[in-house]
């Protein structure tokens, strides 16, 4: 009777914080569970009076408190002055008179029977990191896996995740970019064939099952609350996560209060390194899985390149670099700091070879062109920093045009270099920084790569590159 639990609603709502009026269930079914006391209602926006009787708002879904992101209006529904949050509006608007719901009834029981079907083996370094991570999880300590590009980071996570799943725990892998989620999903489905896995990103439909392993963009975690026994944040230094405090809050909110958040990256921020060092939850891998050095960047000056390209002239050094790649049939990526500037350069590159195209975050054919590059259907791509991470193309060679630009910070340059020499068949390659002056970021990236190659960084107490 009214006390009875609707298991479908329970499985969907457990760990989530959702709009009362926009669930996949009927309003009546939700109301019945509210009456039975299984669902708690939370006001969408909370306000408190601060200095000079001004109101200060907090969004109870995304925990945004940036007052410039609240809009106040005369609401026709509640017939009063209402505030709504613009920070998470893309997920359905939360206003003062919006009701959010969370499941507070009996929790679903997650299965303890899982298989790990991954058939590879971890290198001793990977195994060490994996064991360290499992130990940190057991003592609820946050752990940082600091591993160079191409060291096999995802595989390191398999044993600790398997361990958690077998205990009936709920696990989340979060990444700032949807590309990373889409790349991870098939690999995890193969690795954990028995596990209920769900991928969440803008436009993805939630499965209605009690998913035990959730892959989600960090944005999607706005919609979770105290859901997971562990969250692994992949590429924790990528935009927008790195710069958006509400995304960091979202991750903290999504994990159960005492449970840890782990980070996996090739380019941790100083803050993350310091934190990890102070707790001891850190593993460092300074070698790629194939054992070869990371490619070191070559500096080539390209004075006034912006002026020349704007005038319709491609500098000779660039033409030579591109021609050499084409002659050797090596696929290449050329990184630009700005879309408009890249599109100015595109027709000039197409005079060298008509197959060269440009891609950026909003480009409709991005996936097609990247696949064409993998298939060797086109010789190379011009790109913004969107392809700086998470992408593997065999034998790819990379160049940066305008490496002195601010967007190319140390982490971006290391990630870009990390595209080169990833496979054991082609463990080296060209990594050229064309510049109009050398910046600290360029030198920092280069010296970090040199130090890692010399074997630096294995002892967390030394951390020479901070």
């Amino acid at each position: 009777m009214p006390k009875s639990i609707n298991p479908a609603i329970r499985d969907f709502l457990d760990g989530r914080i959702w709009l009362r009026l926009h669930t996949p269930f009927t309003i009546e079914d939700i109301n019945q569970q509210i009456e039975a006391g299984h669902i708690e209602i939370i006001q969408g926006i909370e306000s408190k009076l601060v200095f000079m009787n001004r109101k200060s708002y907090t969004c109870n879904r995304c925990e945004n408190t940036d007052q410039s992101k609240f809009t106040i209006f005369n609401c026709a529904k509640c017939e009063a002055s209402c505030a709504y949050c613009r920070n998470c509006i893309k997920m359905g608007r939360v206003a003062s008179c919006t009701e959010l719901i969370v499941w507070k009834g009996e929790q679903p029981i997650y299965p303890t029977s899982h298989t790990l079907a991954w058939e590879g083996t971890l290198t001793p370094r990977q195994q060490q990191a994996s064991d360290d991570l499992t130990r940190s999880q057991e003592i609820n300590r946050s752990h940082l896996i600091y591993a160079v590009c191409g060291s096999g980071k995802t595989e390191i996570l398999f044993p600790p995740i398997f361990h958690l799943l077998k205990q009936g725990k709920r696990v989340c892998i979060a990444a700032p970019r949807v590309d990373v989620i889409l790349e991870l999903e098939p690999r995890l489905r193969v690795a954990f064939p028995q596990t209920e896995i769900e991928s969440l990103y803008g436009g993805a439909k939630p499965t209605m099952k009690a998913s035990q392993l959730v892959l989600a963009t960090t944005h999607q975690l706005y919609r979770f609350q105290h859901a997971f026994d562990a969250i692994f944040v992949d590429e924790a230094d990528a935009f927008p996560y790195k710069a958006d405090e509400t995304l960091q809050k979202a991750v903290r909110k999504a994990v159960k209060p005492t449970k840890p958040i782990h980070f996996v990256t090739a380019t941790p921020s100083d803050k993350l390194l310091v934190e990890a060092k102070s707790t001891g939850g850190i593993s460092i891998i300074n070698r790629r899985y194939h054992g070869h050095d990371l490619p070191t960047p070559a500096y080539i000056s390209l004075w006034k390149y912006e002026h020349h390209i704007q005038k319709g002239r491609l500098p000779k050094k660039l033409t030579d670099w591109t021609n050499e790649r084409i002659k050797k049939s090596e696929p290449f990526l050329i990184f630009f700091h700005h879309i408009g500037f890249m599109e100015k350069a595109e027709p000039l590159f197409q005079l060298i070879h008509p197959g060269i195209h440009s891609v950026h975050a909003a480009h409709p054919d991005r996936k097609t062109y990247v696949q064409a590059l993998r298939d060797k259907a086109i010789p190379g791509l011009l790109t913004t920093t969107i392809l700086e991470r998470g992408i593997t193309i065999q034998n790819v060679q990379v160049a940066v045009i305008g490496a002195e630009q601010r967007i190319f910070d140390k982490a971006a340059l290391i990630q870009i270099g990390g595209r080169v020499g990833r496979s054991s068949a082609f463990p080296t390659g060209d990594f050229t920084l064309f510049h109009n002056g050398i910046t600290y970021a360029m030198d920092e990236a280069k010296s970090e790569i040199l130090k890692l190659n010399k074997g630096g960084g294995t002892n967390p107490d030394e951390l020479p590159f901070m």
Partner: protein, 204 residues
Amino acid sequence: MNCLLCEQPKQSSPSWQSLIAIEKSTLICEDCSNQFKRVDIIEVGDNIDSITSIFTYNEAMRNYLHQYKFLQDIALAGVFSNELKQALSKKKAIIVPIPMHPTKKIERTFAQVDELLKAADVSFEDLLIKTNQEVMGEKTREERLSMSRLFQIKPQVEIESTTYILVDDIYTTGTTMQHAALTLKEAGAKTVHAVTLIRAASEQ
């Protein structure tokens, strides 16, 4: 301040007009602004003396309307303030927004046309009431034309023998505008013009 659409910091180039406050500052950045295409078309319709539309209905506009109306992002009401104000200024007329059905308005929490006008600082009078909740886009041409009147004049409102300008966000088939114009004319309006933010191609 960040652009309301792309959330990137806005780079405003200082101009003499902004300095002496002739030009109202915009809420969106130049890149986003350039995505919207002007159409500036004036048409004549049945029962309606002229219909002026400002923008075309393209991808950018579709996204804008989605965020404004369906995601209920009322902050976007002011994005086209300059253009709307310009289209409605220097006209001696009573400006009448196309109303929403009261139930629909409560659902949306605001009336989108009223808010566009408020944001543009254009004074208007709510003279009409919407009498049914049907959505034009879901009907065939025959159904639309045979429908009974969609609007009525608000009780205790006198319509004068003068010029009225109806305002709506989007103009597609013209059925809504014709119904509203006819209602005003039957009540005694001399001339009825219309201004819409967007001109969408009718899918016939």
